[in-house]
């Protein structure tokens, strides 16, 4: 099963196996990884599953399409960066095995 490493704002690492097809957000929530709130439950409607994708992985995860709902929501998130994604919008697949994502200071 592909693995994702979630790194909390304080540096704590959580390596977790996430089944193909599940979102990176769901992988965190199902394994009680702190730092991802996912208030809307994966509807791309709240920006509380915000992560920074490790730059080495950005080609594979891609970035949000300008004008998309994800881009709009990230536009309001605190401290969004060019490598920001909403983790509910990244579906796990074999090619993402080893993915590294970092959490922001808070989910706003």
């Amino acid at each position: 099963m592909p693995k994702v490493t979630y790194i909390e704002y304080n540096g704590t690492e959580h390596p977790v196996e996430v089944p193909v097809g599940l979102s990176v957000m769901r992988g965190a929530v199902n394994n009680n990884v702190p730092g991802i709130d996912a208030d809307c439950g994966g509807e791309c409607a709240c920006a509380t599953c915000h992560v920074y994708v490790d730059p080495a992985w950005l080609d594979k995860t891609g970035t949000p399409v300008p004008g998309s709902q994800e881009a709009s929501m990230l536009g309001f998130a605190a401290e969004a960066e060019p490598n920001s994604r909403l983790s509910c919008q990244i579906a796990m697949r074999e090619g993402l095995d080893g993915l590294i994502v970092r959490m922001p200071q808070g989910q706003h």
Binding site: D39, A45, Q69, S72, F76, A78, Q105, G106
Partner: protein, 411 residues
């Protein structure tokens, strides 16, 4: 309550009109929405004092409209079932669609960024402690006046960097802005009078705004508006509208959650005891209070394209009302929703802050204030007796509580 229940189920479905503000002042809205959720989740009310409108009562239908601002506009008809009075409209970014909405919202958003909240925490805690230690014992007092208004007014004064000694004006303006002018207890009694008071507020704020425009940018809302490119040159009405939005959003909803939370705990003594036994539950108590109280009763959109919703056909120009009070009580989305349960597994999944691009800007600040209130209350005043239910506001929009008598017994 018994007669209400009978009415809700005996009147014809199409005659149900949940826009009547009396339902919320009397707290008798529950059975109407229970019926709508079961029998007509997307319900057309043909006649009301606000004209015809659709009611959405289920969580998932509300979510569908929340995330589709391309079809369901906030700008075309505003955000309340009642239109703003003709000729007296006041624009604000909550009543705008992209791109202007996005540009203005981004100007004020940083006030509640994580780093800034972390900085505010110590100030909020110190003030909260001072207010709580000043409460009388063995004496009846009004919780709304002494705690909810007091704390949220101080917060507003800080957010605007408003003169401290004048701060109660902020509360007054907030009450003016949200009041229904037809209610006898309202501070103003006509739309013109309301407009004139809000204009006075804008004039006082403009003095401060002009000073801040000349100074280097700092972290208060007036300075941010004065230096933000998208908010620098607002016409008077837009200035009035945006200030109203920030004042109401910045205090009223938190005020009512401070009152409603204590009321809910007093009605659920086992939950209250659970909290005293394990104060760590404050973390899940806070979102549960916000769900249970649902400080904003509804938000409205206007369809700009034909659409299908829950099997019904929505036409261009139709008013679509998302009843958050009902979606937050939808058993298909939330287990045992009519119960107040302070240790729910997913307490943050509620509609009270809205979703999509208009989601509440200040939600984390609201939660922070409530968390601190309960963290500091429990060790000081573990028992607070609520002596009567709160007196509520005559409004179908803001779930207000005007007063609630309480007593803190002697140790």
């Amino acid at each position: 309550m018994a007669t209400q229940l009978q009415d809700a189920y005996s009147i014809p479905l199409e005659a149900i009109d949940v826009s009547d503000p009396q339902l919320y002042q009397d707290d008798t809205w529950y059975p109407y929405f229970e019926r709508l959720r079961r029998e007509a989740p997307v319900h057309w009310c043909r006649e009301s004092r606000y004209g015809p409108y659709w009611s959405l009562s289920k969580y998932k239908d509300i979510m569908q409209v929340e995330v589709n601002h391309q079809t369901y506009s906030s700008e075309v008809g505003g955000i309340a079932v009642e239109d703003q009075p003709k000729g007296l409209e006041r624009e604000s970014f909550i009543r705008m669609d992209p791109p202007k909405h996005d540009e203005q919202r981004k100007v004020v958003g940083p006030i509640v960024a994580p780093a800034n909240l972390a900085e505010m925490e110590a100030t909020i805690r110190e003030r909260t402690i001072r207010v709580l230690e000043g409460l009388p014992r063995n004496e009846t007092f009004d919780w709304v006046e002494r705690v909810s208004i007091e704390l949220t007014t101080m917060m507003l004064a800080t957010l605007f960097d408003f003169p401290w000694e004048e701060r109660r004006k902020l509360t007054y303006w907030s009450d003016v802005a949200i009041c229904n002018v037809h209610a006898p207890e309202s501070p103003v009694h006509s739309e013109q009078e309301k407009f004139d008071e809000i204009k006075k507020m804008a004039e006082r704020m403009a003095e401060l705004y002009n000073e801040r425009a000349k100074q280097p940018p700092k972290f208060d809302l007036l300075s941010m508006l004065a230096h933000g490119r998208a908010t620098q040159d607002m016409p008077l009405r837009e200035f009035m509208g945006n200030l109203t939005l920030l004042i109401v959003g910045g205090n009223d909803t938190t005020r009512n959650s401070m009152t409603g939370g204590l009321h809910a705990l007093s009605q659920h003594p086992r939950e209250y005891q659970k909290l005293r036994d394990d104060p760590a539950l404050v973390a899940s108590l806070v979102p549960e209070i916000i769900r249970y109280v649902t400080p904003v009763i509804h938000m409205r959109r206007t369809a700009t394209q034909e659409a299908e919703l829950g099997g019904r056909h929505i036409r261009v120009g139709d008013k679509v009302v998302m009843w958050y009070v009902s979606g937050n009580r939808d058993p298909d989305a939330i287990d045992d929703p009519d119960n107040f349960i302070i240790d729910r597994p997913r307490p943050r999944q509620h509609l009270s802050f809205g979703f999509g691009i208009h989601r509440c800007v200040g939600n984390r600040l609201a939660e922070l204030q409530l968390r601190i209130l309960w963290e500091e209350l429990l060790p000081r005043h573990p028992v607070i007796e609520v002596l009567a239910p709160p007196r509520r506001t005559y409004s179908n929009f803001i779930h207000g509580m005007r007063s609630m008598p309480v007593r803190i017994p002697m140790h």
